[in-house]
């Protein structure tokens, strides 16, 4: 049902990048907030 090579086309690659950025950016921001505060443990 997919491209036999499994490789996404150019439009699909764009969609994948956007989809992962939409979830990745807030997640990384949240993780950074925690890491930033956790550094107090080692100060």
């Amino acid at each position: 049902m997919t491209d036999p090579t499994g490789a996404p086309g150019p439009g699909l690659t764009g969609k994948l990048v956007v989809a992962w950025l939409i979830v990745g950016v807030p997640l990384v921001w949240g993780v950074w907030q925690v890491v930033h505060k956790s550094l107090a443990l080692f100060r």
Partner: protein
Amino acid sequence: MALFSFLDREHTIADARFSRWLVPPAALAIHLCIGQVYALSVFKLPLTMLIGVTAPAPGDWSQETVSHIFQLAILILGLSAAIWGAWLERVGPRRAMFTAACCFAGGFLVGGLGVQTHQFWLLMLGYGVLGGIGLGIGYISPVSTLIKWFPDRPGLATGLAIMGFGGGAMIAAPLSVGLMAHFKSATSTGVAPTFAVMGVLYFLYMMIGVFTVRLPAPGWAPPGYAGARSDNRMITRHDVVVGDAIRTPQFWLLWAMLCLNVTAGISIIEQASPMIQEMFPGVIVPSAAAGFVGLLSLANMGGRFVWSSFSDTIGRKATFAIFFALGCAVYLAIPAAGHAHKVAFFVLAAFVAISIYGGGFATIPAYLRDMYGTMNVGAIHGRLLTAWSTAGVLGPLFVNHLRASQIADGVPKADAYDVSMHLMAGFLVVGFLCNLFVRPVAERYHFRASASPTDGVPAGAGR
């Protein structure tokens, strides 16, 4: 209704150009939102000062009263996952995700109204009941879809999604604090407008998942995937319907394993901040304790992805055996580290313990897939989540009661953790034994297309 026909299962089937790697972000869009429930504690103090604003005043809710909101939400999470799991399998993930978004966001709006009018029952009805239903349906809605898209790596797929549930709190906590600071005034703590804004934001964000998710076409398989290895008896090539699954001993063994693992994790999470401060007086100040709590949330999130992905390599039974054996060792090590005044060792042990707590959540759906096949795995997972509700409600009560009775008996505060940690190690030994008894499901439970399932929901049976 034609207006909502885009939610139908048949409109969710992927075409040939769709990439399965779009499904994990869709699942994350849901789990990153509903994971907010773990950050509910940031509202705890402001909710006790709705009348007094700067300090609790007569008529304000107590902290104990407010803590019931979280307990109710977790209770409803498990119940709704159990009740609507079979419905989810029938209608497909998109309608389920949409329903979850409406309930979760609606819960914030109704809860916000309860805060604004200072009616606790309305807050409980909104965030606890309506929001709890959104949590339950939202939690299980992408899991079976991911397992169907990633039959070759179900642990990785479910780990990615359920990692979002752990990560959601990391986003929600600073977001909530920032919004409350923005809306705070001389006459308001800013909780009600914060609830309203979060409800709208979460609804919109969850819609990304609703519109992105797709089901694989019947018979679809990843390129090069030829099905589960026939020589591995712990991965079934058959399906079991949900009604039959709960009659198997394997279901109840897995239920007990999840319940015990969650209870053990809660015993640390529930008292992490006071525990490290009381075990290391004069060494760990409150800000450092807050950092320790933050580290544990990282372990909770990371453990979900790392352990679950690892289970694809070594198998689910071996992974849970490691959880319980290693878990037992680290729960014994925690009080020992306290007595030896080894902060780094204590932090490391707690970090591993909480990674195991998260790993259990993320690996259990793949374990269910291995036992019962993919057909009803979402519904079976929903029923299993009652173990989480049980542990989530009874666990903190049990741990707090145990500690209180120890202190009442004259045990020093720092030493009062010993008994609970040793008891949790014992729980994990029981979990290890349960895992040891898990065997492949008997053939008589396997679904046959010609048979009429009593309580089952064969995949694709949706209208």
